[in-house]
C-alpha cells in the first residue's frame, strides 16, 4: 500500500463523504470552535452532557480537508455515549498514535487491543507519515478538549 493510499484509506473517505453527527445543538449544549492557523480549517464541536457526565449528544460543524473532517466524524461517533473520562482516555491514545512519528521514534504498529479501542479512528494512523497533516487529524480532538473544559468551568 502506498503512503498516499495509507493516508486516504477507504474508511476515511467514507467518513469524509458522509460525515456522522454533522449539525448543531442548541444551548444549553456547549459549543467550541477550533481552527488550524496554517490552513484555515475550522471545526465546531457542540457537546451535550448528561448529569452523570456522559456525552449524551455531540454534533460537528465547520469545514476543512478530508483528514480533519473525517477525524471529527470518527471522533464524534467514538465518544458519543461515553463518559467524559472515557473520551479523554480515547483522546490520549489517539494523540499517542498521532505523535509517534512526531517524536522521531520508530513507528510501532498499535496493539490489537488499542486498535479495537480506537475503532475506525485507527485508520488515521497513516497520517503520521505526513507530519503537516497531524494537525488536521488532531484538530477535532483539541476542539473537543476545549468544549469539555468549558462544561467543567461552567459547573
Amino acid at each position: 500500500m502506498s503512503d498516499l493510499e495509507d493516508l486516504y484509506r477507504e474508511i476515511i473517505l467514507d467518513h469524509y463523504r458522509s460525515p456522522r453527527n454533522s449539525g448543531e445543538l442548541e444551548p444549553p449544549a456547549h459549543k467550541a470552535e477550533g481552527f488550524n492557523p496554517l490552513c484555515g480549517d475550522e471545526i465546531v464541536v457542540y457537546l451535550q452532557l448528561d448529569d452523570d457526565n456522559t456525552i449524551a449528544d455531540i454534533k460537528i460543524g465547520g469545514q476543512g480537508c478530508s483528514i480533519s473532517q473525517s477525524s471529527a466524524s470518527m471522533m464524534s461517533a467514538a465518544v458519543k455515549g461515553k463518559t467524559v473520562e472515557q473520551a479523554q482516555e480515547l483522546m490520549g491514545s489517539f494523540k499517542g498514535l498521532m505523535s509517534i512519528a512526531d517524536k522521531g521514534e520508530e513507528l510501532a504498529e498499535p496493539t490489537p487491543a488499542e486498535i479495537r479501542e480506537l475503532g475506525d479512528l485507527a485508520a488515521l494512523r497513516g497520517v503520521v507519515k505526513f507530519p503537516t497533516r497531524i494537525k488536521c487529524a488532531t484538530l477535532a480532538w483539541n476542539t473537543l478538549d476545549q468544549a469539555i473544559s468549558e462544561t467543567q468551568s461552567a459547573d
Partner: protein, 411 residues
C-alpha cells in the same frame, strides 16, 4: 534582443533537477518563495569565502570588500526599481518588516484619532496586521476598498474612501487572485486626496518591470526570497523626503551618529533604518538575483508568464471543465501567474497532498489573506504559481495531477 530560451533556464536551478517520489520536481509555489539559480548561490559562497567581515566599521581589506559588496547590492536594487537615489533603498529582513517599518515609524508618528488608513480587501496579512497594531495604539480608522467583479477591486467609492485619509496601502498584485491592481489610478486618486501611498510590491517586483519613480508611490516594500534571492532579506524603498522626517524604527549599532547616556542622534538615511549587523551576504545574493533577472529581462519574464498562465488556464478548463474554479481575473494579461484553484469535491489540503505524490508542489491554505478568503467564501484554495523557470510541461503536470486528485476522491 532575441527571446530568452526559458526552457533552458531550469538547468540553472539545482533544486529543479531533484526528484520527488521518483518524479521530476514540478515547483509551482514561487508566490510563497522562489528557488534560486546557481549564480546566486555562488555569489553568496564567494562572499562567505573571500569577502566576509562585518560592514561599515572596518578599515582592513576584508571589511572594505564586504562593505563594497553590501553597498553595491544597494546600488543594484536602486537601479532595478528605478529609485532616484540609492540611499532610499533600505534593507530589512523581509517585506513584512518593511511594512512594519512604515506603520511603526511613519504611522506611529503621523496617525491618531480622526485619521484614516485605507487598505483593500485583498491585502496579505503583512499589509493588514501592522496597521491594526498601530491602530490599537493610536486609534485611527481603517477603511477597506471592497472586492468587485472578476477578482478586481471595486473602485466606485474610491474617492469617498480616500476622503480625509492619510495613507493608502495596497498590494500591486494579489498573492491569491493574481489581480494586478491599477496603481496609476489608485495613486493618482490618493495623492489628489492628500494621502500617501504605500505599495506592497511583493508579488510584482519579481515578475515585471518596476519603476518606483514612474509609479509615483511613496513607499514600496518587497522581499528577496520571492525574486531568486536568499531568505532573510527584504527591501523598503521610500521617498527621501519622507524617510528623512521619519523617526527610526529599530535602535542599535549602525543607525546612530552619536549616543550618550542622555539620548541618541540618528544617522542619515538609510543607516537610520538599518540597526545592527545587516543581512550582509543576503544582500549580495539579492544583488546576484537581480543580475540574473536583468540578464533575461523583466519584460520577457512577464511575457513568458502571461503565456504560461493563459496556457494553464485553458488546459485546466478543457480538461476539468466546470469542476475547477480559478479565482481572480479571467484575462491572463490582467493578472500574474498565480492560480488559486478550487477543485470540486476535493479540499485544497487534499489537492496539495495528492499533487505532491506526482511531484507537483502547490500550496493549500488561506495564503495569509483571511479577510479575502472570507469574502470569497472559501477557507482554503490550492494555489499554483509560476515563475520564469516554469514551462508548459509544468502546467501539463499540474493538470494531470489535478485530474488524478479528482478521480481519487470521486465517490
Amino acid at each position: 534582443m532575441t527571446t530568452p530560451d526559458f526552457a533552458a533556464l531550469k538547468k540553472d536551478f539545482p533544486i529543479l533537477q531533484t526528484e520527488r517520489h521518483g518524479k521530476p520536481l514540478v515547483f509551482l509555489d514561487s508566490a510563497a518563495s522562489s528557488q534560486r539559480p546557481q549564480q546566486v548561490l555562488d555569489a553568496m559562497d564567494y562572499a562567505y569565502t573571500h569577502a566576509y567581515a562585518n560592514v561599515h566599521r572596518g578599515v582592513y581589506g576584508l571589511a572594505e570588500a564586504a562593505t563594497n559588496a553590501y553597498e553595491s547590492a544597494r546600488l543594484k536594487v536602486a537601479r532595478f526599481i528605478g529609485a532616484p537615489d540609492s540611499s532610499e533603498v533600505i534593507f530589512t529582513k523581509n517585506a513584512t518588516e518593511s511594512l512594519n517599518l512604515v506603520a511603526g515609524s511613519w504611522g506611529r508618528a503621523n496617525l491618531g484619532p480622526g485619521d484614516a488608513v485605507v487598505l483593500t480587501m485583498m491585502e496579505h496579512h503583512a499589509n493588514i496586521v501592522p496597521w491594526q497594531m498601530i491602530q490599537a495604539e493610536k486609534g485611527f480608522e481603517i477603511r477597506w476598498i471592497p472586492l468587485g467583479d472578476d477578482g478586481k477591486l471595486d473602485l466606485t467609492e474610491l474617492d469617498t474612501l480616500l476622503d480625509g485619509a492619510k495613507l493608502l496601502s495596497v498590494a500591486s498584485m494579489s498573492n491569491v487572485l493574481g489581480t494586478i491592481n491599477p496603481l496609476d489610478q489608485l495613486i493618482e486618486a490618493a495623492h489628489r486626496a492628500g494621502a500617501l501611498v504605500c505599495v506592497d510590491a511583493c508579488q510584482s517586483v519579481p515578475h515585471m518591470e518596476t519603476n518606483v519613480a514612474e509609479m509615483g508611490a511613496d513607499f514600496v516594500a518587497f522581499s528577496g526570497h520571492k525574486m531568486l534571492g536568499p531568505s532573510g532579506i527584504g527591501v523598503l524603498w521610500g521617498r527621501m523626503e519622507l524617510l528623512e522626517q521619519m523617526p527610526p524604527f529599530l535602535g542599535g549599532g549602525g543607525m546612530i551618529s552619536n549616543v550618550t547616556t542622555d539620548g541618541f542622534m540618528p544617522d542619515a538615511v538609510p543607516s537610520k533604518f538599518e540597526a545592527g549587523t545587516p543581512p550582509i551576504v543576503e544582500a549580495v545574493g539579492l544583488g546576484a538575483a537581480i543580475d540574473y533577472l536583468e540578464s533575461i529581462g523583466m519584460d520577457a519574464i512577464r511575457q513568458h508568464e502571461i503565456e504560461l498562465t493563459a496556457y494553464a488556464m485553458r488546459a485546466l478548463s478543457e480538461r476539468l471543465g466546470d469542476s475547477v474554479t480559478i479565482h481572480g481575473p479571467s484575462e491572463p494579461s490582467e493578472r500574474g501567474g498565480v492560480l488559486s484553484i478550487d477543485l470540486e469535491g476535493v479540499h485544497a489540503h487534499d489537492v496539495s497532498q495528492i499533487l505532491d505524490s506526482h511531484g507537483v508542489a502547490v500550496r493549500p491554505g488561506h495564503h495569509c489573506a483571511k479577510p479575502l478568503m472570507k469574502e470569497l467564501g472559501v477557507n482554503a484554495t490550492a494555489r499554483a504559481s509560476f515563475y520564469l523557470y516554469n514551462d508548459t510541461s509544468d502546467a501539463d503536470a499540474l493538470v494531470d495531477a489535478l485530474a488524478d486528485a479528482q478521480s481519487f476522491f470521486a465517490p
